[in-house]
């Protein structure tokens, strides 16, 4: 643990490399271990189809982490938008495209509301989104009680099942979203300002950047991405109920943070986030392939992450030794 600025910046790209190596090795190992079953069309399909939501939800969290905030409401919001979309199609009888747009708009609106609340009240974003999370959970339940919606728009569900060149359409959507988010942060003026606010709010303010605007933008974007995750869920799963989104909170943090994004803000890693989501999904699939008790899977995920952590450090040590 040296204290020089040089060594700190040099390591900033390393988690992604480590993750990529682990991801490839893990995938190949699993493919061999399952006797190639992993590479069969159906398995590969299922693998990528259920990778879409973790990627998008991880990005949704990453966007707020970039400005040093957290959004605890991502999961609940995804569920709420999904329920709202299903309700619009089934109960209000609206066509699918309108329901999809409405879900996105709802996500964006709630996200913006989060941001505005954070800016206006100056209350810690953690607490604000915790409060809005509870509120959204209530609303999500209010849409249809504990019952399940299904049998909505055939077209939307067909899209959810569709594949292009062997890859599920929803996964391609997620990748496209990831690319857009990546471009936003690396190439657009607005994205750079967001990162400046996150990296050093005071310095950003001195340069005439409005930190308040950055906060609102980030939360709005996060909500929009939750809306995207909701649309993917509605399309790919065929049925939704008030429990949708309950399993998303922790993964939403895990993907960016394992991917190397700092909680303090100022940096993002789209590749890292996507790779981390990929890894977690790999473990899921391993569980199904070998019929492992999920509790053992938890143990394994834990071990894998700790292993990755240690590997990264060893790599760093080796590299340092060689210079």
């Amino acid at each position: 643990m040296t204290l020089t600025a040089t060594s700190l910046s040099a390591t900033s790209r390393k988690p992604e490399l480590t993750l990529a190596v682990i991801a490839v090795v893990g995938f190949v190992a699993l493919a061999i271990a399952t006797g190639g079953n992993l590479l069969s069309a159906g398995t590969l399909e299922a693998f990528f189809r259920f990778l879409a939501v973790p990627i998008v939800i991880g990005l949704s969290q990453m966007v707020v982490l970039a400005v040093g905030q957290m959004n605890l409401s991502v999961g609940a919001l995804t569920g709420f938008c999904a329920m709202a979309a299903a309700w619009l199609m089934l109960e209000a009888g609206l066509p699918a495209p309108i329901a999809v747009l409405a879900a996105l708009a709802l996500g964006l609106a709630v996200g913006l509301a989060n941001g505005i609340l954070v800016v206006l009240t100056r209350i810690n974003g953690f607490i604000v989104t915790l409060a809005t999370m509870t509120i959204i959970q209530g609303l999500r339940y209010g849409v249809n009680g504990p019952d399940t919606f299904q049998g909505y728009s055939e077209g939307l569900r067909a899209f959810g099942r569709a594949s292009i060149l062997g890859l599920p359409a929803v996964f391609l959507v997620a990748i496209a979203v990831a690319v857009l988010v990546g471009l936003y942060f690396s190439r657009t003026v607005s994205g750079r300002k967001l990162l400046a606010s996150g990296g050093s709010p005071f310095a950003a303010r001195l340069s005439g950047i409005s930190n308040d605007r950055s906060l609102i933008t980030a939360h709005g974007l996060s909500g929009l991405l939750a809306g995207v995750a909701a649309v993917i869920t509605v399309a790919a799963s065929g049925s939704v109920n008030a429990t949708i989104g309950d399993d998303l909170l922790l993964p939403s943090f895990a993907a960016p943070i394992i991917g190397g994004v700092a909680l303090t803000g100022g940096m993002v890693s789209v590749t890292g986030t996507v790779l981390a989501a990929f890894l977690v999904r790999l473990v899921d699939v391993m569980q199904a392939q070998f019929g492992i008790n999920p509790r053992w899977v938890d143990l394994i995920i834990g071990a894998v992450v700790l292993g990755a952590v240690l590997l990264g450090t060893v790599r760093q040590k080796l590299q340092k030794g060689s210079t």
Partner: protein
């Protein structure tokens, strides 16, 4: 013409400005002087929209200006280099320079234009830095240069420089001042805040002196004043410079700290240095010569690949600062007070006492009373301006922060002390007091390694001067305290050395 009238600014517990005035004319360089904590930076911040004044007005050509934030000041044509570094660590040099006005095309960042603009500003300063390099890899001084380039990029009518040269050496300062003169000649107004009075007298035309938040001299022409007159104004009474008492060093003693043929992971080669008890060894060099990194290697923060470090004649293997402090009674005052020296969010008391809690503690608990007493001693001794000792270190003026960073190591009562750029941003009076203090410590038998880019300071204080250039010691001189002769010898040493293969290697190659 920019005029500030009766500006008032109060922080909880402190009135930083109490009716300060400032008048700025185009085509002139205006010096803003005052002791640490006099309110110079606060005035600069009011003029650039960082703070809103609690009273008074800012007029531009007779029209009152109201700044809602820094952006408004920029729009009004006021550019600034703040005293504290304000760069976005993860961004590149280029992006930091043009951060005020990121060039875009339909929302997309125009990297080409960004690089070109950044290069233009760096070239003004004759600095050779790659615009794509992340600023987290810059040294303190390089960061300072980027800050200046950033201010230049705005091309504003008024430019405020708050201690721009605090961590620069003469060469770089000279380049900056030639830019400043060029700006003046083309009709810009420049405000210069600095504690280096020689520089001020060399470039400034007029001067405003602040004392306790009030202007005691307003826009007076500098010509016709002597340095000591200005200092008297700042201090508020006649200020006599102190003649340092010198003690002979007993050359027969074992060196308290000795490096023999040391090489480091960063590329230092064949470093031989020794400091005896009661001696001050000056380590002089240009920015980036590798002095700070050498000090860190001695403390175990960088790898030592060859050679030996001896303390009081015994080989020492130091792995961290705690060990250095406890086992070898060796201390290090960092040059980077903001990131490495201070706990900005903690009270001054704790910042000072942190190194001695072990000594103060009774059964593992630190009595507040003893801690307060200790802190009070050093606040008093170094004249640290605090509203209460419980004030957060981050709320002190720059110079006072530096004093706190020093106080911590004086409190630790070490045998060997490495001080790295100790008087950056410290005012004249305190600097003199500090020099006295250092000389006094040496007289008490402390061994001091003084790393300083301030040549006059080095010549005044050191018994011997070692000169470092590009990671090697290029010579060692006995100091006869004659500034003219010593400076010539040192400059010759630095420049005589043929270009050296041992340049500083960045960690990642």
């Amino acid at each position: 013409m920019l005029v500030a009238e009766k500006l008032v600014k109060t922080f909880p517990g402190v009135r930083a400005l109490d009716g300060a005035n400032l008048t700025l004319r185009p085509g002139s360089v205006h010096a803003l002087l005052g002791e640490n904590g006099a309110g110079k930076s606060t005035l600069v911040k009011l003029l650039t929209g960082v703070y809103r004044p609690d009273g008074g007005r800012i007029l531009s050509d007779g029209a009152e200006l109201q700044f809602g934030g820094p952006l408004d000041a920029q729009k009004a044509g006021i550019g600034v280099v703040h005293q504290e570094r304000n760069l976005i660590p993860a961004f590149s040099v280029g992006e930091n320079i043009v951060l005020h006005h990121l060039p875009g095309r339909a929302g997309w960042l125009d990297k080409q234009r960004m690089r070109a603009e950044a290069r233009r500003c760096l070239e003004l300063l004759e600095v050779d830095l790659d615009p794509d390099m992340p600023v987290s890899r810059l040294s303190v001084a390089q960061g300072q240069l980027v800050e200046i380039a950033k201010a230049l990029s705005l091309d504003s009518k008024v430019l405020l420089l708050d201690e721009p040269t605090a961590s620069l050496t003469g060469d770089e300062a000279d380049r900056l001042y030639s830019v400043v003169r060029r700006l003046r000649d083309s009709g810009h107004a420049v405000v210069l805040v600095s504690h280096k009075l020689e520089e001020v007298f060399a470039v400034a035309d007029t001067v405003t002196v602040l004392r306790d938040g009030r202007s005691v001299a307003e826009a007076e022409p500098l010509e016709g004043h002597t340095q000591s007159q200005i200092v008297d104004l700042m201090v508020g009474r006649a200020f006599a410079s102190i003649e340092l008492a010198r003690h002979p060093v007993d050359a027969s003693q074992t060196p308290a700290l000795r490096l023999s043929d040391v090489a480091t992971g960063l590329g230092h080669q064949d470093i031989n240095l020794s400091v005896r008890p009661g001696e001050i060894l000056g380590l002089y060099g240009l920015v980036g010569a590798g002095r700070s990194e050498l000090a860190k290697a001695v403390l175990g923060l960088e790898r030592i690949t060859a050679g030996t470090v001896e303390i009081h004649g015994k080989p020492a293997r130091i792995r961290n600062v705690g060990e250095a402090l406890r086992r070898y009674r060796l201390g290090y005052v960092t040059e980077d007070r903001k990131d490495e020296g201070l706990f900005l969010e903690q009270p001054v008391t704790r910042n000072i006492a942190v190194t001695v809690w072990r000594r103060l503690a009774k059964a593992g608990f630190v009595p507040d009373r003893r801690e307060r007493a200790l802190a009070a001693t050093y606040v008093e001794r170094l004249g640290i301006r605090v509203s209460t000792p419980q004030q957060l270190a981050g709320q002190l003026s720059g110079g006072n922060q530096q004093k706190v960073s020093l106080a911590k190591w004086l409190a630790a009562e070490c045998d060997v002390l490495i001080v790295d750029e100790p008087t950056v941003g410290i005012d004249v009076r305190t600097k003199a007091a500090f020099h006295e203090l250092i000389a006094g410590l040496a007289a008490e038998g402390l061994a001091l390694l003084l790393i300083s880019s301030d040549l006059p300071e080095t010549v005044v204080l050191a018994d011997r001067i070692a000169v470092m250039s590009e990671l090697r010691i290029v010579g060692e001189l006995d100091n006869d305290h004659d500034y003219q002769r010593m400076s010539q010898q040192i400059i010759r040493l630095i420049h005589a050395e043929p270009s050296n293969p041992g340049t500083l290697r960045p960690t990642e190659s």
